[in-house]
C-alpha cells in the first residue's frame, strides 16, 4: 500500500482534558454521512461547535471558533482531532432503570457511533452486571478486555461487553482502575469471564478477586512482563525465561 505512515509525534491530548464532551445533539445514530474528503484542507482547531452534523464540506475558516468545542460531528481528517471521544448522552428506559438502581455509582451513560456504554465505579461493575443479567435479559457476556492509559491517574480501563438476545442490544461497561488495584471477578455472574479475565490478567496484570483460577492463560506461567501494558515495547520479552526454557540467548 502506498501510504507510508508518519508516526505522528504528538497524538496525545494537547488540549486540557475536557471533563465531559457534553454534546448537545440528541443521540441520533446519524446514518453514515458521506466520508469527509481525503484532501480536506482541514481548518485548524476544527470543532464544529454546536452546528448540526452536516459537515459534508469542511467549513470555511470558522467565523468564530467556539472555545468549548462540543465537536459533535467529529470526523475531520484534521491534524487536531478532538482529544476526547465525541460521545453523546445515552438515554433510554434501561438507563433510567439503572440510574434509579445504582444512582451515582454509574457516572455516565454515553453513546458513540450508535454504540451505548456506561461508565461506573469499580465496585459497582459486578452488581450492575448481575442486574443486567437478571432484570434486563443481558444473558451473554461477549467480552472482557482492558485498555492501558499510562498517563492517567487511573491507568486501566476495564471493559465488559454484554448482549441481550431478547432485546437484541449490546452495551459496554467501563470501569477505571488504579495500577495494582484488583478488580472484582465476573465469573460468579458469567462463566465465560473465566478465560477472558485470565487473558486480561495475562496481558495487563490486572488481578481479579474471586476468580477461581487466577493465572496466566496464553503466556507461560513463569513469564514476568505483561505485554499489552504500554510501557512494554513490542520487542520486550522475558529474557530470563527464554534463556532458561529455550536454551537460546535471545528470541530476537
Amino acid at each position: 500500500m502506498p501510504d507510508d505512515p508518519k508516526p505522528e509525534g504528538a497524538n496525545t491530548p494537547e488540549s486540557a482534558p475536557q471533563p465531559e464532551p457534553a454534546a448537545p445533539q440528541s443521540p441520533s445514530a446519524e446514518p453514515a454521512a458521506p466520508v469527509a474528503p481525503a484532501t480536506a484542507a482541514a481548518p485548524p482547531a476544527a470543532s464544529a461547535g454546536g452546528a448540526p452534523p452536516a459537515p459534508a464540506v469542511p467549513p470555511k475558516p470558522p467565523a468564530a471558533a467556539k472555545p468549548a468545542g462540543a465537536a459533535a460531528a467529529a470526523r475531520p481528517a484534521a491534524p487536531k482531532a478532538p482529544a476526547v471521544m465525541a460521545a453523546t448522552p445515552w438515554e433510554s428506559e434501561l438507563t433510567a432503570d439503572l440510574a434509579a438502581e445504582f444512582g451515582d455509582r454509574i457516572s455516565a451513560f454515553q453513546s458513540y457511533l450508535g454504540q451505548n456504554f456506561l461508565v461506573c465505579q469499580p465496585g459497582a461493575a459486578i452488581p450492575i452486571l448481575e442486574s443486567l443479567r437478571d432484570n434486563h435479559g443481558f444473558e451473554y457476556l461477549v467480552d472482557v478486555t482492558a485498555v492501558h492509559y499510562p498517563d492517567k491517574p487511573e491507568p486501566f480501563e476495564l471493559i465488559h461487553i454484554v448482549y441481550s438476545f431478547e432485546r437484541n442490544e449490546r452495551i459496554r461497561l467501563k470501569t477505571r482502575l488504579k495500577d495494582g488495584e484488583k478488580a472484582a471477578s465476573a465469573v460468579p455472574v458469567y462463566i465465560t469471564a473465566d478465560w477472558l479475565e485470565r487473558e486480561v490478567y495475562d496481558m495487563f496484570g490486572i488481578e481479579f478477586e474471586g476468580h477461581p483460577n487466577m493465572k496466566r492463560i496464553l503466556l507461560p506461567d513463569e513469564w514476568e512482563t505483561f505485554p499489552l501494558r504500554k510501557e512494554n515495547s513490542i520487542l520486550k520479552m522475558d529474557q530470563r525465561w527464554v534463556q532458561e526454557n529455550l536454551g537460546i540467548e535471545s528470541g530476537q
Binding site: V35, A38, V142, D143, P227
Partner: protein
C-alpha cells in the same frame, strides 16, 4: 473397585499438543477414571504471537494482513470483521458493489471453513472418505480466491473502505458454477454420514450443551444454534448488506454433537443460497468508498462483530486519532467456545473427547492469537 486386587486409580493423561485430533497445538490434560473423563484442562498459547500488540505498532492499513493469520481457514471473515470495525470508526461504509463481493467471498469462505471442519471431524470419528470429498470441493473455493486476489489461504481480500481488486472476468460465472456443483455434493456428504449408523451412534447425545449452558459460556455460532437459539449476527445485526438476502438460520434442539453437524450442513446450503442471490445482483459502481489514503479515525472506540463460521468474531478498536490503533482487541469465537470443552467432555468417554474437540471447530491460530 474396592476389595479387588486390581486397584483402580485415577489417571492423568496428556493429550497433545501434538495429538493429531486436537487440530493444532492444543494440549488437553485429562483426568480419567478408566474410560470415563472426570475433568479436563486446556493448555493453550503455543501459537501466541501477540497479534493485539502488533496492532498497536502498525498502521490500520498495515494490520490488515495480520488478521488473516488468526483463523486461517476463514481468513476472509477475519478481514471482513476488521475492515468493518475500522470503517465504523471512520463512519464510512463500503460501496454497494464492494459489499456484494464481500458477501460472496465471505460465504464461499464459510463453506470452505465448514468443509474443512467436516472432513477433519469425520476423520476423527473414523470416516476417512468425507475428508477427500471435502478437500476436493474446498479446492474450488480456494481457486476462486486465488484468481480473485492471488492468495488461497491468507487472502487479505478486502481493504478498509471496500476492495483492492475488481472482480476478474468470468467471476460470476465461476461462482455460479461452483454453486451448481456444490449443492448436490452436500447431499452426497449427507448420504455418507447423516443416516450412517456408526456416525449417528458416535455423535448422538455426545457433548451436550443446552441453550442455557451456551449462553453462560458465551458459546456462539453453530454450537449455539444447535442448542435451539436462533441467533445469527447476520440476521440480528445485519452488516455488509446481509439484510438484502433471503436465507434461513438453521437450528436444532438437542445441542449435541450430531445436531451441531446437522446445523453446519444446513448452513452450507444457506451459504450457497446467499451466494446465488448476491452473484445474481452485483451492483455496478466503484469498489472503494472515499476513505482517506492514510487512515486516521477520530478519537473514539467501537466494537463491531460479525458472524464468522465459528461464531461471533468481534473487534474492539480504540483510536487515539493517530494512524495506529491505540488498542485492538479481538474477540475470538474459537477461544471462547473452547472454554466449554470441559463442560461438554465431563462424564463422557475418552473416545468421545475427540468428537467433542472436533465439534467445537477450533482453530488454534485464533485461540492463541
Amino acid at each position: 473397585m474396592p476389595g479387588t486386587f486390581l486397584d483402580s486409580t485415577e489417571l492423568v493423561l496428556n493429550m497433545g499438543p501434538q495429538h493429531p485430533s486436537t487440530h493444532g497445538v492444543l494440549r488437553v490434560i485429562v483426568k480419567l477414571d478408566g474410560e470415563r473423563v472426570l475433568g479436563t484442562e486446556c493448555v493453550i498459547g503455543y501459537l501466541h504471537r501477540g497479534v493485539e500488540k502488533i496492532a498497536e505498532n502498525r498502521t490500520y492499513t498495515m494490520f490488515g494482513p495480520y488478521v488473516d493469520r488468526m483463523d486461517y481457514v476463514a481468513a476472509v471473515s477475519n478481514g471482513l470483521g476488521y475492515c468493518l470495525a475500522v470503517e465504523k470508526l471512520l463512519n464510512a461504509e463500503a460501496t454497494p458493489r464492494a459489499q456484494a463481493v464481500r458477501v460472496i467471498l465471505t460465504e464461499l469462505n464459510r463453506i470452505g471453513s465448514h468443509l474443512l471442519w467436516l472432513g477433519t471431524h469425520a476423520l476423527d470419528i473414523g470416516a476417512i472418505t468425507p475428508l477427500f470429498y471435502c478437500m476436493r470441493e474446498r479446492e474450488y473455493t480456494l481457486n476462486i480466491f486465488e484468481k480473485y486476489c492471488g492468495a488461497r489461504l491468507t487472502t487479505h481480500a478486502f481493504r478498509i473502505g471496500g476492495l483492492q481488486y475488481e472482480t476478474y472476468d468470468g467471476f460470476e460465472k465461476e461462482v455460479l458454477e461452483f454453486c451448481d456443483l456444490f449443492e448436490p455434493k452436500v447431499d452426497e456428504y449427507e448420504e455418507l454420514l447423516t443416516g450412517n449408523r456408526i456416525w449417528v451412534e458416535r455423535l448422538t447425545s455426545v457433548g451436550i450443551l443446552n441453550a442455557d449452558d451456551c449462553k453462560a459460556y458465551g458459546v456462539t455460532g453453530p454450537m449455539l444454534r444447535a442448542a435451539g437459539v436462533q441467533w445469527d449476527i447476520r440476521k440480528a445485526m445485519p452488516y455488509s448488506g446481509y439484510d438484502k438476502y433471503d436465507f434461513m438460520v438453521p437450528t436444532r434442539v438437542n445441542g449435541d454433537t450430531y445436531d451441531r453437524y446437522m446445523v453446519r450442513m444446513a448452513e452450507m446450503r444457506q451459504s450457497v443460497r446467499i451466494v446465488r442471490q448476491a452473484v445474481a445482483d452485483i451492483p455496478a459502481g466503484p469498489i472503494m468508498a472515499k476513505v482517506p489514503k492514510i487512515i486516521k479515525p477520530p478519537v473514539g472506540e467501537a466494537y463491531v462483530s460479525i458472524e464468522a463460521p465459528k461464531g461471533e468474531l468481534g473487534y474492539y478498536i480504540v483510536s487515539d486519532g493517530s494512524t495506529q490503533p491505540y488498542r485492538c482487541r479481538v474477540r475470538p469465537p474459537s477461544f471462547v467456545n473452547l472454554q466449554a470443552l470441559d463442560k461438554m467432555a465431563r462424564g463422557s468417554l475418552v473416545a468421545d473427547l475427540v468428537a467433542v474437540i472436533g465439534t467445537t471447530d477450533i482453530v488454534l491460530g485464533e485461540v492463541d492469537r
